[in-house]
Amino acid sequence: MKPLLITISLLIILSGCSLKDATIAAFKSEPVQPWERDILARDDMQLEPDPMRAFVDDHIYFSKEAATGGKGVGGGGCGCN
């Protein structure tokens, strides 16, 4: 397992994650005109950018943890918890 964790950690570093810059700019509130929403319309800017991944994760963590919910209502139940 260790080589996998090291590889993944390296991927994070190499991806150039600059969270400090992102945090400072992120919460600046300003009005946005309809013609200024090109970035907001991108698939990767949706609050749930990959519903398939979210669907799978919800099932995994529902099965392995006591906490659940917060994103929406509905969805199939299962006997895994």
Binding site: M1, L4, L5, I8, S9, L11, I12, S15, G16, C17, S18, L19, D21, A22, A25, A26, F27, K28, S29, E30, P31, V32, P34, E36, R37, I39, L40, R42, D44, M45, Q46, L47, P49, D50, P51, M52, R53, F55, V56, H59, I60, Y61, K64, E65, A66, A67, T68, G69, G70, K71, G72, V73, G74, G75, G76, G77, C78, G79, C80, N81
Partner: protein
């Protein structure tokens, strides 16, 4: 002059025809997303293979349907809640005592199982007006020892400038719970006695209110409050709890558990859960990197509270390719009735008791990455992650799992 007029007419007709054609193409766009998941726990514990197909499309200008199909196959071994005891005096019957639908034995404290789940859901999104959408749907899930039926509705209302969206949703779920051999065991009844009752039933009512807001040209954020009340059978019919005596070794000064009896677990007949969830998406940088960050605070009347943080960071690599590392952290307190085992000291049994490790105090994290790229006219995504969990008092105090998912989405 006539020639110019004719040409203009032809050009106008061409534009109108082209426009109508394009609009029709968008209206009829169908989106097929398929996925395969491998979830494998270390030490030959649980393995899940999951196949998912999600089809959505516009059937009219104002109606969009989504159909979701899921097939899970689950196998492996899972802790029953019993202690590892070499001096156990309990006669164990794996078929009735543990782990799932086709339990075939295994060590007394861990049981083999296998099961298959088929899930189906249908949702219908109606555009009521330019600023209002109503989505309602139903879902069905069937396993050999579990049936679940649900219905839900969600209303989304945009403000006039479409900078803010308010959400309200309701759902109700009815579950039937039973063992492979039928019925459910007597809560806190002795495993050796094997007393069973009828099937378990549970109704779950779920409500959500939320708001999402465009903060600026590169940031959108969301805040939700979710309340869930469930009434009925909450006990896991396969989980047990050991009654133990402490056996000391005077030479090493160490203690071990000696199991003297074993009971089926028992949980309260209702549960009230609350979740406060916030998330944001922000784009920055020359490459157009996107960071997604979410936090959830959860608490319920079983005395469990939990904090969950989820972070992804997507870096475009050009030509539609991207790499997206992911980190998730979760910590929770234990349920008030969680206990490692029941001490055999002559005291009466508690009203509720469970040794299910998932109700124990724990911390866990997941780390991994997803890679995506266009492929054959669609989008291919592959992710690999490692999940680690540590439990405070449970007999099995660690869980490691590998998560591999490959997904392919295509519009047609």
């Amino acid at each position: 002059m006539k020639s110019i007029k004719d040409k203009l007419s032809i050009a106008t007709c061409t534009l109108l025809t082209g426009g109508a054609h394009q609009a029709q193409a968008i209206d009829n766009a169908w989106d097929l997303d398929t996925s395969y998941l491998y979830y494998g726990e270390a030490d030959d514990r649980v393995t899940v293979n999951k196949a998912i197909a999600n089809l959505s499309g516009d059937i009219t200008d104002n109606d969009r349907v989504t159909i979701n199909l899921v097939l899970d196959t689950m196998s492996g071994a899972t802790p029953t809640g019993a202690v590892e005891s070499e001096t156990s005096s309990v006669t164990f019957s794996s078929a009735s005592g543990a782990g799932g639908s086709t339990a075939t034995g295994g060590a007394p404290d861990i049981a083999d199982f296998s099961d298959t789940r088929l899930g189906f859901s249908l949702s219908w999104e109606q555009t009521i007006s330019r600023l209002r959408k109503l989505t309602y749907g139903g879902n069905l899930s069937v396993e050999k020892d579990y049936h679940s039926y649900g219905a839900n509705a969600t209303l989304n209302q945009d403000t006039e400038d479409r900078g803010t969206t308010y959400t309200a949703g309701l759902a109700v779920t009815y579950d039937e719970i039973f063992t492979k051999t039928g019925g459910t065991p007597d809560p806190l009844g002795r495993v050796e006695d094997g007393v069973t009752f009828g099937d378990g039933e549970r109704y779950t009512y779920n409500a959500i209110v939320g708001v999402s807001k465009v903060l600026n040209k590169k940031t959108v954020a969301q805040l939700n409050y979710n309340i869930t009340y469930s009434d009925g059978y909450h006990t896991d019919p396969y989980k047990v709890i050991s009654e133990v005596r402490l056996v000391g070794d005077s030479e090493t000064n160490a203690f071990a558990f000696a199991e003297t009896d074993r009971y089926y677990e028992s949980r309260p007949g209702s549960r009230l859960r609350h979740a406060l969830f916030t998330s944001m998406a922000h784009q920055y940088g020359e490459k157009g990197e996107v960071v997604h960050l979410s936090y959830r605070y959860y608490f319920d009347d079983w005395d469990i509270s939990a904090h969950t943080i989820d972070l992804t960071h997507r870096t475009p690599l050009g030509l539609g390719r991207y790499i997206e590392p992911h980190f998730r952290f979760h910590m929770q307190s234990s349920a008030e009735f969680f206990m490692h085992s029941i001490l055999d000291d002559g005291s009466p049994l508690p009203e509720f008791a469970s040794a299910d490790y998932r109700l124990d105090q724990s911390t866990g994290y997941t780390i991994g990455a997803e890679y995506g790229q266009p492929w054959k006219g669609g989008n291919l995504r592959i992710r690999l992650e490692q999940m680690e969990q540590n439990f405070e008092d449970a007999e099995y105090d660690e869980n490691s799992a590998l998560i591999f998912q490959v997904s392919y989405q295509k519009l047609f």
